[in-house]
Symmetry: C2
């Protein structure tokens, strides 16, 4: 049996396929790959140091094991990439690393340590409409503790998130981990007498827009409605002013200190037991974090954190980068959120019927990567290999032996493998590879047991600005005895790294 | 719009989903993940040192960009995981790393250096019937040079494969890279007058069975046919004895030395120019390899390499592990092939119409990993984190501060996050985590500014075999002053690593 799609392609006119990355996907080249790997390793080291073990699940899951757990219910179009098997079952690509964790925990719960603490990193896939900077495959890097009900586990995750950000090169002061708690909001809703689930959900959706529409916008949307920027009128939830006020007070409860914030929150929840529980959890987390020396410069309570409130059941947190960068048009802007997490106690229940407490964090690797690149420029050495050029194609053996010698001395090197006929092409190639230098051995050099070295980096610099005098004084191409080749190259590379 | 599969799940009875890895997929835990990552990094270092740059394409490709390029045409059922998009186009998961490379090369050919030398590592997916040790997602680790026609590029890949195997811990003598050339076979077929493509393909299919059926089997299958082990009669290709003989002579041409092998091959191809070209290529490769000191102990010519002959167009090579291992039933066996590659000059042509020479290697990461594990046992430190137990749940802050202190000293540590009520469960947890030691601080210790350390590894050893005397002499649980905790733990961990 030949697969449907191939059959189709075969039957079509014999046109050539277009060479293009599928819409919404991207390719990563060279330093993009190595820098990300480096960053993932740094984060993994932090997670591991905190006691988490690695887990790598398959990219593919049974669709019913995934369920529909996308945190962002505001985008009902969002979905997964799924397909039907020959036996009519459905498979899908994972859309995050949490759903597979729930499946793994349920599947192996008798063998795994309890609590189960694992980290995972890898691509996830979202069947969403792609947009600028919004891809359908991206990396996540998660750590979760499953089976821990005490919020000390949540506090640990927040502290670890701060550590991870500092490990990858974002110093204290350039980021902030902000913490909120879903239970406080539940308390507020309880207090204003909002019991109806649909109404509660509507309030959550409004709160989720707080970042965009601000206090006044939220007030309007909680009340009778609001005229959108586009001119459209958005219906409100229909709360009275008295009902809306505590919700807004909750969102704006942040004080100068954690103590002040907690006091403000106490005013908001009245005597709702759920609300007080949430406040007590925040209080405990603040205390745990202080013990571990995670001061409010790094981690702080902030009830305006609204992202994920709908998804999480207790503590919610988010890491934001606070340094300013300049966009392509030279405008100042902030990078915003690069990681988020919280407590979700219902995920495993789908499989086992048992409520299992769980808390964790997910780092948006590609966003964090982009931020690092904008902040500090490329972190990794971008020097290409030494290129040994081919002057005489009958003597490839000699060039191979030069390459072997360089490599044995620890120097990244290669022979030019293209058509050697046009020497200019060989130097163009070396330029494209960002080679620091090229080795040239013609018959003349060979006869004299010498070798030519062309300093490509100096050459480029000179070509830009040098006077004729300078050209003469600092020749970018020079001859050394053959037996001094390796040491000369080593010195040149060492000088470059300074 | 809600996605079809979810809708379906929703409409079904509200049964719980089964927590299981999809059929043919697997989950990797802990050291399995870290060991593989370690190995991938080692191989990447070797590839990079040889001048290759990283490339990571998306897991998803347009189906028509993938085409049907599975090397193993003997399994027509094999396919890819594919699904249809809303716009009716088809997407698919990549089934190897070579097809995406061809797409990338065609797409970016004006910007990329030429030749383009890249390495890629990551999972690939095959929609095959799963079997024992045969998964539908597995890792590959490839390096290819696109745009190099000279077989020095093929020789480099073979040498690099040898280096990579040694880098991951397989010493010279425990593996062999064997090289063959498709052109020689083409020469043989030319010489025996087999011009018909279908007949040639039939011969290739027979040759592909050489490993299984041996010389006699191949002779029969090339001739009139063969009685299968299962009792079924397999029709032969119908060659005469005179036609079949050179094919068999080709397969068995390996001599004691590369020189002898080349002599034998010259007898086989007669004056076929294609065949002579293939022999000359093998000869050159052998020479290049000798220059780089890749002697026949590491790399050798061997015309019995038949895997991939149908797919490749010139040199073909394969790395085989030669050390013996014992299977679960205690029987000696060899691990066989862990990597393969060769020259494929037609892959880019599908997109551009131009024939672009290319050669490369693919390492079967999971197989190699399994071999290393069988050979040497787990390479990576399997010691878990230090577990700080919770004796008094009102004093979590104290335990957190102990953990902070250990971590700051570079010690992997965590607090017990489960329900602390049952102390036995805390020690069971530490055992499951393979913790080297547990920290215990009750009120008594606290009052005396001391701390208890339970040596879990010693404890386990003693529990197995110790006499009462030994128990007394080497207590597995002891008290140290609080301010000596870190140094004591560090000493214990250092002793373990010896």
């Amino acid at each position: 049996m030949i697969w449907g799609p191939f059959q189709m392609v075969k039957d079509k006119k014999q046109s050539r396929p277009k060479a293009e990355t599928p819409k919404g996907f991207r390719d990563y080249f060279d330093q993009e790959v190595s820098e990300r790997n480096e960053m993932l390793q740094q984060v993994a080291r932090v997670y591991h140091h905190h006691g988490f073990d690695a887990l790598e699940t398959s990219a593919v899951e049974n669709v019913d094991a995934l369920g529909k757990f996308l945190p962002d219910v505001d985008r009902p179009n969002d979905g997964v990439f799924a397909w039907q098997e020959d036996d009519n079952s459905w498979l899908a690509l994972r859309y995050d690393l949490t759903a597979p964790l729930a499946r793994v925990y349920a599947q192996y719960r008798n063998e795994l340590p309890n609590p189960y603490r694992r980290y995972s990193m890898g691509p996830v896939w979202r069947n969403e409409k792609p947009g600028p900077g919004r891809f359908r495959q991206f990396y996540q890097c998660d750590a979760d503790t499953v089976g821990a009900s005490n919020v000390s586990a949540d506090a640990e995750v927040c502290a670890m998130l701060a550590d991870a950000l500092e490990e990858v090169g974002i110093p204290s002061g350039d980021y902030i981990v902000r913490i909120n708690n879903r239970k406080i909001l539940n308390g507020v809703l309880e207090m204003i007498g909002l019991e109806n689930q649909a109404e509660r959900l509507a309030v959550l959706r409004v709160i989720d827009k707080f970042d965009k529409v601000g206090v006044q916008g939220v007030e309007e949307l909680l009340g009778s409605g609001r005229l959108d920027a586009s001119g459209a009128y958005i219906d409100g939830v229909g709360l009275s002013k008295d009902q809306a006020a505590p919700v807004v007070a909750f969102l704006t409860a942040k004080g100068d200190t954690n103590e002040k914030t907690l006091l403000n929150l106490r005013d908001v929840v009245g005597n709702s037991s759920t609300g007080l529980e949430g406040i007590s959890e925040l209080d405990m987390m603040a205390e745990f974090l202080t013990v571990g020396d995670y001061t409010s410069k790094r981690v702080q309570l902030d009830p305006s954190v609204v992202r994920g409130l709908e998804y999480y059941t207790g503590p919610v947190f988010e890491a934001e980068l606070t340094f300013e960068i300049y966009d392509k048009k030279g405008r100042k802007r902030q990078f915003g959120s690069v990681a988020g997490g919280g407590r979700y106690d219902d995920l495993v229940k789908r499989f086992t019927g048992q409520t299992i407490p769980a808390t964790g964090v997910s780092i948006g690797v590609d966003r964090l990567m982009a931020a690092l690149r904008d902040k500090a420029g490329s972190q990794i050495d971008t020097i290409g290999p030494v290129v040994v050029t081919v002057m005489d194609r009958e003597r490839l053996n000699d060039y191979i032996s030069i390459v072997s010698e360089l490599r044995s001395a620890g120097i990244r090197a290669e022979m030019y493998f293209g058509n050697p006929k046009n020497f200019g092409n060989q130097l163009k190639y070396a330029d494209k590879r960002r080679s620091p230098l090229a080795i040239i051995e013609g018959s003349e050099e060979r006869d004299k047991c010498s070798i030519q070295i062309k300093d490509l980096i100096l050459g480029t610099q000179l070509a830009k600005s040098a006077t004729l005098e300078e050209w003469k004084e600092r020749p970018s191409q020079f001859t050394v005895p053959r037996n001094e080749m390796v040491s000369t190259v080593q010195e040149m590379l060492k000088a470059l790294k300074k």
